[in-house]
């Protein structure tokens, strides 16, 4: 894992000192709320329905046990004993007090963490593949490049006041576990026909009010030049992005309005002037960072079999454990979607358990996934059983990864000031119909249900096989139903199926969709999404509305 050097720490310490001063001035009424609000937002502090909400950055979703334990400490000391892991691989706390905020920031900075650039019109936390460094299908660990982007974008003076927020994701395999085509910039590391590594660069993807799938702005940029190329993209956006209209301010609108050819031409022209300036990191810096992501000290010859005689354990292994590149090792996903749970929420006690298990069994690394689960990426197969028992004791071993009860939900109207409707109860009520039968869930197979409480789409409803969007219908909570989205390598945008529903109606509708799918699939292995793609919307519509 990357460890801060003196510069990283100095930047965080300076920023913490600056913001503590700003908080102090606000508490003493030396500045007004109008003056303070943009400052607190730049430091990840929102005012939500019940209290202040803090979003802490987890760079590319990777954490150490020590960091996780600090997140638990923060939940316990400054919040109400829990946190919410988000689709951007961050964590949010819902009950923060401004008067305690300085102490909280000090605590975070002790473990190389902070909350800046988690809000505001800047480059946000860089996201990545939760299986990075462990996946058998990657060509290299993508996180050193995410880390370079993090350093480049941290307090980058030119990009601190962009037209709108800016989100970047980096992967290094053909399976897209980070939804790169739905980011402002998506980077896919690959090796070209000449054996050279570089990135395919997608630009202008996003969800929210105007969902768009990213377009390729450059098929191949050598790794050594991807920072200057990113800088060129940001420059074109910063110059021409629609500052006049908040709804048109994201880069996706600029790319759409200019057309990808013209946008590309402008980026290439900008890059032609930038590249010779030598902005890219020198090889030594690449080497320094890559070395910090070196493989952990695997045990050579670790047994490559798992004793699956316990049927409950076997179920969990079948569903939540993935192949690792190293023989004798496996990748384990911890579901944060337990029975009657709140998607993405974890208590401080659970965070402590996970921190302990990461240190004991997983080379001290934890990942947050964009579907609001956690991953222990490097576990010896022989340790899986003991680890699973410890997870189960903390209600962290639900074997439902990618199944119908593994639902993404944003905080919705239970917490969020922008919401039209609640999201979490919808997720819970859908899950309740299936959570008592894992075999039924497994029969339904991979099904990604994603719920957002408003058009901003924090719950990725546009990327849901089934997407649910909360809307306001004359003051009542109502829900639109969308079908056919995917945030994976086969990215597609979900489309509205028909008229919306009330709360009970949407639960029934999902039930009918699933029943229809089970009757219509060509084989048990055909996923819901594939059946939808094969048959089109009409029969699904008929099943729901007839």
């Amino acid at each position: 894992m990357y460890r801060y050097d003196q510069y990283d720490q100095a930047i965080v310490d300076a920023r913490v000192a600056e913001f503590k001063d700003q908080v102090g001035r606000r508490l003493r009424n030396e500045i007004t709320e109008d003056q303070f609000k943009p400052l607190r937002l730049m430091n990840g502090l929102y005012l939500q329905l019940h209290a202040y909400m803090l979003r802490v950055a987890i760079p590319y979703g990777t954490l150490s046990g020590t960091q996780m334990r600090m997140l638990a400490h923060i939940a316990r000391t400054y919040d109400r004993d829990y946190g919410h892991f988000t689709t951007r691989q961050n964590i949010q706390y819902n009950w923060i007090k401004l008067e305690q905020f300085s102490d909280l920031l000090d605590d975070l900075s002790k473990v190389e963490m902070h909350a800046f650039q988690t809000s505001g019109n800047c480059i946000r936390n860089i996201s990545s593949d939760q299986f990075a460094g462990a996946a058998a299908d990657e060509i290299a660990d993508p996180r050193p490049y995410a880390e370079l982007l993090r350093q480049w974008s941290t307090l980058h003076p030119e990009f601190s006041f962009l037209p709108r927020k800016f989100k970047i994701a980096v992967i290094a395999s053909d399976s897209d576990r980070a939804a790169i085509q739905l980011h402002d910039i998506g980077l896919q590391l690959y090796r070209n026909a000449d054996g050279v590594t570089g990135f395919r660069v997608y630009v202008g993807g996003g969800m929210g009010r105007t969902p768009i799938i990213g377009k390729v702005v450059r098929e191949f940029i050598p790794v050594g030049q991807f920072l200057s190329y990113s800088e060129a993209i940001l420059r074109v956006y910063n110059r021409h992005g629609r500052r006049d209209n908040i709804y048109k301010a994201r880069i996706k609108i600029l790319v759409t309005e200019l057309g990808i050819e013209e946008f590309t031409r402008q980026v290439e022209a900008e890059w032609a002037t930038l590249e010779p300036l030598g902005l890219d990191a020198p090889q030594a810096e690449y080497d320094r960072i890559i070395a910090q992501f070196a493989d952990p000290a695997y045990e050579i010859g670790a047994p490559d079999t798992i004793d699956l005689s316990d049927p409950d354990f076997k179920l969990w292994v079948d569903q939540n454990v993935h192949a690792h590149k190293q023989p004798g090792y496996a990748i384990a996903t911890i579901s944060l979607k337990p029975k009657s749970g709140i998607p993405g929420d974890a208590s401080s006690a659970q965070m402590d358990v996970i921190a302990d298990l990461a240190e004991k069994y997983a080379h001290d690394e934890i990942r947050v996934t964009h579907s609001q689960n956690l991953v222990l990426a490097h576990v010896r197969k022989v340790d899986l059983y003991a680890m699973w028992q410890a997870l189960a004791a903390a209600d962290l071993a639900t074997p439902n990864l990618d199944l119908v009860t593994d639902i993404i939900a944003c905080p919705g109207m239970d917490y969020c000031t922008l919401a039209n409707a609640r999201s979490i109860p919808i997720a819970q009520k859908i899950a309740a119909k299936f959570e008592n039968s894992i075999s039924e869930q497994r029969d339904i197979g991979e099904l990604k249900i994603k719920v957002s409480g408003c058009i901003n789409g924090c719950g990725h409803h546009h990327a849901g096989h089934i997407g649910i969007l909360g809307v306001d219908k004359k003051g009542e909570e109502a829900y639109q139903l969308l079908l056919g989205g995917s945030g994976a390598e086969d990215a597609s945008l979900a489309k509205i199926l028909g008229p919306g529903f009330d709360e009970n109606g949407i639960i029934d509708a999902v039930d009918k969709l699933i029943a229809f799918y089970r009757s219509a699939r060509s084989a048990p292995t055909e996923r819901f999404l594939d059946t939808y793609r094969r048959l089109g919307a009409a029969p699904f519509k008929e099943a729901v509305y007839a």
Partner: protein, 95 residues
């Protein structure tokens, strides 16, 4: 329709309702605000100690006011999905 005054305490973010002389963290203490409200609101905004002070519409009687919007009912009760964190004076069922 009666209106009451709500906001969030600067220091803590706590959700508050105006009870006539000061603020309460329980909506059951809220008082109906009449024509004097505009001057009160202006003074609160000027004092800069309460974030987002605003009037909301409610139904019912003093001591049992219920906001007309779901959003404000959630603010008054606490998250509907965490009954254990409820504020006490408006039940989660009332959302």
């Amino acid at each position: 329709m009666p209106r009451i005054l709500t906001g969030n305490r600067l220091e803590t973010g706590d959700v508050l309702w105006w009870h006539g002389r000061c603020w309460s963290t329980q909506i059951k203490d809220a008082v109906e605000i009449g024509a004097e409200g505009e001057a009160l609101l202006a003074s609160l905004i000027a004092a800069e100690r309460i974030n987002d002070p605003t009037f909301i519409e409610v139904t019912g009687e003093p001591g049992a006011f219920v906001p007309t919007t779901t959003r404000e009912r959630v603010r008054a009760s606490g998250p509907s999905v965490r009954a254990d964190l409820a504020r006490g004076s408006l039940s989660v069922e009332a959302i």
